[in-house]
Each structure stands twice: as structure tokens, then as C-alpha cells.
Symmetry: C2
Subunit: 165 residues, 2 copies
């Protein structure tokens, strides 16, 4: 489960297959961008990825990086951290709680669970730093978006829709 070279090549095989199946062209840029995200274990943002890609393809543009990343996300080859795109979101609930997050519209709903509050921090995490807060993120499709998707298309929702070209 590490980002070792063998695993990355395995992932790239899958990447090629998914692109072909989706009828999407396999360009050099797309391959290098995907490899970069797969290689780096620290969940970089678009600009960090662009900086790294520039060393391999000096002419690549930032907007290609963005377009590719959202394409890969749409194809299910990568995911994003936190709520789907948009600005910082704030939370005044300082009690131990957890979140259900809709990966389509960004809805974030609190819920409570004594079981989740008491999760034991794995020993391996101790070497990374000090844990102040344990929070479970359950990600999926909220009922509203599920309904809309069923009807036809999920284009609008309370917190803003999702659409990357």
C-alpha cells in the first residue's frame, strides 16, 4: 500500500484502460499528470502538481493541469480532499462530531456517534504528530442529489453545483 514504482505502474495500466473505455485521448500530459499525483503521497494542490510537471514538460500550462485533474476525478481515477471545490468552510460546532459530505453538491451535515468519538489512534500515526481531534467523514451522495440525478441531471443545488469541462 505504498506509492512504490511497481504499484504506480499498476495504477497506470488501470488509467490507460479507463481512458480508452471512456473514449478519452491518452496524451503525454495526462499520463505525466496522473503519474505525478500517484507518485506524491501528500495530496498536492494543482499549482504544486504544475510545478513538478514543468520539470518534465516545460511547456505544460496550468489550465491543462486543472482540466486534467478534474477529468481524472470525473473518471474516478483520483479524488479530492475535503469538501468538493469552493472556498474555505467554517464550523462553530466545537463538540466532538462527524460529517456526512455529499461529493456532488458539497453538503456537509453533522452527526454524532459515541463509537466514532472513541476511536483508538493507531500507533503508526504517533510518529506523524499529535492528534487533537478524531473526525469521521462519510462521503457519498445526499438524497437531494440522488433524486436529481435520477430525474435527469444534477445541475443545481444549495451549495453550488459541480461541472468541469
Amino acid at each position: 500500500m505504498k506509492t512504490n514504482p511497481d504499484r504506480i505502474e499498476e495504477q497506470i495500466g488501470h488509467f490507460r484502460k479507463v481512458l480508452r473505455k471512456a473514449g478519452v485521448k491518452l496524451t503525454h500530459q495526462r499520463l505525466v499528470i496522473f503519474r505525478e499525483v500517484a507518485r506524491s503521497g501528500d495530496h498536492p494542490d494543482a499549482i504544486t502538481i504544475h510545478r513538478h510537471i514543468l520539470k518534465k514538460i516545460p511547456t505544460v500550462s496550468l489550465d491543462t493541469v486543472y482540466r486534467t485533474l478534474w477529468l481524472l476525478a470525473d473518471l474516478g481515477l483520483i479524488t479530492t480532499l475535503g469538501p468538493p471545490h469552493g472556498g474555505a468552510r467554517f464550523d462553530a460546532n466545537m463538540h466532538s462530531h462527524h460529517h456526512f459530505i455529499c461529493t456532488n453538491c458539497g453538503l456537509a451535515h453533522d452527526f454524532y456517534s459515541e463509537e466514532f468519538d472513541q476511536l483508538t489512534v493507531p500507533a503508526s500515526v504517533g510518529t506523524l504528530g499529535t492528534v487533537n481531534k478524531r473526525q469521521v467523514e462519510l462521503r457519498g451522495l445526499c438524497s437531494k442529489c440522488a433524486r436529481k440525478k435520477k430525474q435527469s441531471i444534477c445541475q443545481e443545488s444549495e451549495q453550488g453545483g459541480v461541472d468541469h469541462g
Copy 2:
């Protein structure tokens, strides 16, 4: 544990105390902004908060909302969802995994736990939507930032420092 009026007034009492203790002025704007974040259970972004505040203080500016939100976060009165500010972050690790997130520098490190992979989704969440992914977020200070804080100030770090005035 709901955002009912009583609980909010209780939170506001705490809010006043923390501001006084920190030697920070208690302005009308700050009070209204804090109350708005406390009131809304859906973790709004700055612009959504601003829109709501405008109904109560028609002259409030968006930059005051931002300044206030980050101030409240620094005072520990509110938190942010996901990695601390910055753009979208990408993850090519499609295996079930979990994150340690440094709330200071934004470092996000994967770790694995069979126990965490198998968390039982509470029944109450079923009404919100369909869960595709369960992911635990352990939040705290990474060892690098802890070291820097100890030395003097944590001003710089790999993924960008934190400093809101």
C-alpha cells in the same frame, strides 16, 4: 447537541469571555458573524455568511467577514472543514485509507487501518444519503510544526504557512 437558541446563547457567553481574555475588541460585527456561523448547521463558506450578515448589518464588508472568521479560528472558537485554506487537493490513492491532517501547515498523510475501514455507518446517516466511503480524519499538529512552534514561531512549512491578520 443541536443548534438551538439556548445552546447558541451559551456559546456566545463563551465567545465574549475568550475575546475579552485575548484582549480583542467585541464589535457588533464580530458578534453577529459568530452567531451566524453558530446558527447555521451546514458549514457555510465566507460568501454565504456574508450574504446572511448583510440582512442584519447592510454595510458589512466581505473582508471583515474573512478577517473575523480567521480571527475566530485562531482563537479556537470555530474550525474549518477539510485541509486549512488553500485550493483543492488531489489524491490518487483509491484504496481505503485515512488521513492525518496538520491543522497548521495543511500536511495530509495517509495511513491504513482495518478497524477504521470497517466502521458501521450509524442509522441516522441513512436518511441523509448514500455512503460510498468512510474516511477517518485525525487532525492535529505534525511533528515538524510542533518543533517549529517550540523553537519560536511556525511561519513557514512545505505546504504554505498560516497567518491571518
